[in-house]
Symmetry: C2
Subunit: 201 residues, 2 copies
């Protein structure tokens, strides 16, 4: 799923330029025409390369789109650690509000929707996603939750995978299924409800 | 999205038989070939009807599949109320364990996966799903949670939509994304964690 680069510096530069043009084209096109109508032909035309150049590096349009996401996240530098001000509730609210803003951003909506609905049907893409995007993100989240455990703000015997699913899962579902308004206030309610629990305290 | 039936009793019986044959064929076929390769032609051939019969009643293969789901849930009689033994935790565990069993059932996996990944791309299907399947189910869940609120087992000021997303959302995500084992024990952990909350008690 990773581009094979040429071996001389000149070839490598040209390959890298083609690779970026292809990934940018894929990301733009899926936002314009939707995933169903995204094609390798369309990406090649937009990027100004031949179809064979794309097929040499990627097995499917899903794989191209996935690498486009990786390029974007690399563009933002190393994934930053989650904020840790010592106030877990405030930190989680600020992170979940940022997630809401990203899910509501029209530039990302269709590409992310495509990726999220392709993954359930494509085990190879699912494995790449889990390995290269989901796991590093989950590790950052766990690091923040462990710090809160050490500070006594979270139960020591918590299943951290379940905790993460309980905080981020509702946002992802509501966005994918359009089952309700996805607002900053909703992000706050999810954080408060997850921390406090459904039972009266 | 609903089949238009003929007006004489004989026509109505024949229409109903064709309708059932089409829905059964759609449900079986999607399990065999996957949603991407499911076609109106294929459904028509399996059901022994002409393509035009299907197009007269449904606008898309997604709409056929959705009605196949409705037929299945009607086949199970009126959706039953959630169990209410007075023990909220035990009742929720039994319901979420049943959900896990259903999601793990190979007969349902591909059709449900298709429906869940088509909905994010098809606003008409999303609206029909919300109205005819999701809302009635959500109402049953809320009824059980309200009963628990009256019994003092749940916070009185709970946002019930968020509570439902916190209980059922993690299961749905884990199934769709294959992000971890979907077991009865996992269902129990989700119920316990949601009720107790992430903070120490």
């Amino acid at each position: 799923m990773t581009a094979q680069h040429g071996t001389t510096p000149g070839t490598r530069r040209r390959s890298e330029a083609s690779r970026r043009a292809i990934l940018t084209a894929a990301f733009e096109l899926v936002g314009e025409v939707g995933y169903a109508k995204l094609s390798i032909e369309g990406i090649a035309a937009r990027a100004g390369v031949g179809k064979q150049t794309i097929y040499r590096w990627w097995p499917s349009k899903g794989a191209v789109l996935f690498d486009a996401f990786l390029m974007l996240s690399e563009g933002e530098g190393d994934s930053p650690a989650l904020p840790d001000t010592g106030d877990l509730e405030a930190d989680l609210k600020s992170v979940l509000r940022a997630t809401v803003a990203e899910l509501n951003d029209p530039r990302y909506d269709e590409p992310m929707r495509a990726l999220n609905t392709e993954i359930p049907h494509d085990p190879a893409l699912a494995a790449a996603y889990a390995e290269r995007l989901d796991r590093p993100m989950k590790e950052l989240k766990k690091r923040r939750l462990r710090s809160a455990q050490r500070a006594g703000q979270l139960s020591g015997d918590l299943d951290l995978d379940v905790a993460i699913e309980m905080l981020w899962g509702p946002l992802l579902n509501r966005w994918l299924q359009r089952s309700g308004p996805l607002t900053p206030e909703y992000a706050d309610t999810v954080v408060e409800t997850a921390l406090k629990g459904l039972r009266p305290r």
